[in-house]
Amino acid sequence: MPSAINPQLLIRQYIKLFHSKKNLPGVKSSYCNLLVTVKGIQFTSVAADPSIVNLGQGFPDIPPPDYIKEALAKAASVDRLNQYTRSFGHPSLVKALAQLYGKVCNREIDPQKEILVSTGAYGCLFSTIQGLIEEGDEVIIIEPFYDCYVPMIKMAGAHPVLIPLTLKRTKDDSISSAHWVLDPEELASKFSSRTKAIIINNPNNPLGKVFTKEELQEIADLCIKHDTLCISDEVYEWLVYNGRKHTKIGMLSGMWDRTITIGSAGKTFGVTGWKLGWAIGPEHLMKHLQTVHQNALYTCPTPLQEAVAQGIWRELSLLNQPECYFNCLAKLLEEKRDQMARFVLAAGMKPIIPEGGYFMVIDVSGLNQDLSHMQDDEPYDYKFVQWMTKEKKLAAIPVSAFTGEKSKNIFEKYIRFCFIKQDSTLQAAEEILKNWNKISH
């Protein structure tokens, strides 16, 4: 590890290296993916360099709840729990999930036939797409989108059809993720006879949008009309603020039979490194996900599944009560969100206040930061993030990483901050932003 780390140079080197090793046409990894995953060097360079405040990567630096760590330690002390378990999901976990989501969805869910446990929501998305999406199919994706959707669709030989959320005119002073909406006519125009599915991410990463029931109904009506699937990535389902309610599109009339809903232990319990997620849906679709799973990784780690099961049983008994971790975490994060919004505004940036999730998208164009000295062909937000990491020692993710080529000009003035960070991290970020104008550009 070099002692003097030049993040900008490293970013360039690794983008170049990473792109050159990828020989899948069109499956370029986004900048977001690079920062999180490539070669470890960028991640470790930013994370290991204590002088950089890392608001880029989307994982907590706050500890997970004690009881879930204890559950894992306990599980690993039981011999049988160190060996293979049921392929589609450890029995105690799928039963707990069936109970929890049965309650939330107000329907009976079959733990054996309607649930799959996989390696994170990522694994569930992969099994869904490999199992159900055919070569030549079209899949509608809403921009900005979590960056793995497009490469997964391309790997299945299908075509992504993109539609952006756009900012609707408002007299409100403060912009929230609720102001970003789909144009219903534009959405309807994206459905064709080749459309197999639409992917929605609710709450949305990076915007934090929590789709209203009416918005979901518009999407549902189109799915039913065109007989398409809906893949609903709901990993941030428990993190909604301002009294907003998370609505599951799978619960709308006519939708259960055509929706796969995906959840995440990592996001639910603040343990992203455990890489466990689940997909829930009707048997006639789930069996295809299960086929992919049994041929791709067969089964997930047993002690992790047992520990997550214990976590879910506990939360189920406390659901809707203040002590429920889902409620505690949401409350904690709402405060952090508000704190961040204040210091970002004070620095002259314009946040889009998220209704859910743990990211905040921020318009930096008001700073008028001159970056003309940097590489021309990159979007402004990529350049801004590189410059900010180097000059201000503050890391973020450029939002155009979450869009297709055509929409980059809409989103290239935005960067994404993660606020599920401990107080010292947020304070350090606040200091940097307070002093922003004190250092000459």
Binding site: N82, Q130, E135, S193, L297, P303
Partner: protein, 423 residues
């Protein structure tokens, strides 16, 4: 170097047709139903483990079927796990580097670098996955293209075939045959071998890879250097990859040596070698490794206190115990040189089985099911490890796992002895 490296999406889109199996394009009305699965998963829905683990659980049998130990993993690995889980560093519960946690890939590079006599780049030459299963899946997805042929040695761990099919490849099978005579039957896995001419005949210009599994599941065969040399020479000659599944590499008996085909001349650059923490540290349910476990083992490699020194010796005793028992009741085991399993020839037992529900079902499947239901002992039929077309020829063996704690082996012995007495 290889003719094709990764998925060629453009080509696939141009082709437009189904992958590898069905020749018909479904009618438009069927195609657009939301219920339609992707064609890549047609034909890979069945899975022997789902079927037999369910039965073993249902009939509460002594389980010598699925290959997992029912004794504890070693203390030092469990301690390492416990330290990491309960430790102060909460980042241990968050995302790590995609291709493998830095501490883990560094120790793997060191350990395998030593074993292979080769410098291994931890960040360029290693990928950590969810079990060897996912490593295999990733290898096939990345390296096998539609229409490629992949040579598989029978009997084979059952996942290879569906994985090759999902990648759009075409399986070409070549069997290991017992080199014995009626007077002197093959009694050890070492006496099962490939015919070099037959093997050579399987390589064509469409061959992309050959899959090797050593030590072998289900036979327990540990391929000798000369045998690997034959395979290596063909790989080099035909410019073919070798995917070498070596999950049982530490479990080798009777002074046999596990040889890594990647260490043979010319092979490093065209071999993907696969290992398993689950099989190394007897913790199959982890599907991930604790780097500290490997560090410890590297420090004591080859010494009596090394777990990897002790484990094969312990398992050899268990193997011997089960073999003795089987022999004493008149059964004919094939003595494995390594791995977790042995196979037993059941043809001479002349057991009368009830009429099959499915006429196509091979004899060993029926036998294994009968054994669970009537004797309370779970095993796996070996024809599950053969391609469909060859199952009927190899339907007279069952596979037993001896990597079990003593009480399980005792219970199995009791069942076998009682059965013998009633004959």
């Amino acid at each position: 170097m290889w003719r094709r490296t990764a998925l060629s999406l453009g080509r696939r889109q141009l082709q437009g047709g189904p992958r590898g199996h069905a020749n018909q394009v479904p009618p438009a009305s069927f195609r657009m139903s939301h219920k339609r699965p992707a064609r890549r998963i047609l034909g890979v829905e069945k899975n022997i483990w789902l079927e037999f683990t369910e039965m073993a659980a249902k009939y509460k049998s002594v389980d010598l079927g699925q290959g997992f130990p029912n004794f504890s993993p070693p203390d030092f690995v469990r301690q390492a796990f416990s330290d990491v889980v309960s430790g102060e560093d909460c980042l241990m519960h968050q995302y790590t580097r995609a291709f493998g946690h830095p501490t883990l890939v560094k120790i793997l590079a060191k350990l395998y670098g030593q074993l292979l006599g080769q410098s291994i780049d931890p960040f360029g030459d290693i990928l950590v996955t969810v079990g060897a299963y996912e490593a295999l899946f990733t290898a096939f997805q990345a390296l096998v293209d539609e229409g490629d042929e992949v040579i598989i040695i029978e009997p084979f761990f059952d996942c290879y075939e569906p994985m090759v099919k999902m990648a759009g490849g075409h399986c070409v099978f070549v069997p290991l045959r017992p080199k014995g005579t009626p007077d002197k039957p093959a009694l050890s896995s070492g006496e099962w071998a490939l015919d070099p001419d037959e093997l050579a005949s399987k390589f064509t210009e469409r061959t992309k890879a050959i899959v090797l599994n050593t030590p072998h599941n289900p036979l327990g065969k540990v391929f000798k250097r000369e045998e690997l040399q034959v395979i290596a020479e063909l790989c080099v000659k035909h410019d073919v990859l070798c995917i070498s599944d070596e999950v049982y590499e530490w479990i080798v008996f009777d002074g046999n040596e596990h040889i890594k085909i990647a260490s043979l001349p010319g092979m490093w650059a065209q071999t993907v070698t696969i290992g398993s923490a689950g099989k190394t540290f007897s913790a199959t349910g982890w599907k991930e490794a604790v780097a500290r476990g490997f560090q410890r083992e590297l420090d004591v490699l080859g010494r009596p206190e090394s777990y990897l020194f002790q484990l094969p010796r312990q398992l050899q005793e268990k193997r011997n115990r089960l073999v003795e028992c089987l022999l004493s009741v008149g059964m004919r085991p094939i003595i494995p040189e390594g791995g977790y399993f042995l196979i037993v020839d059941i043809s001479a037992l002349n057991v009368e089985l009830p009429e099959p529900a499915d006429e196509e079902e091979p004899y060993d499947y029926r036998f294994a099911k009968w054994l669970i239901k009537t004797k309370g002992m779970a095993t796996i039929p070996v024809s599950a490890f053969y391609s469909l077309g060859h199952r009927k020829d190899f339907a007279s063996y069952i596979r037993l796992c001896y990597v079990k704690e003593d009480s399980t082996l005792e219970a199995a012995e009791k069942i076998l002895k009682e059965w013998h007495l009633t004959k």
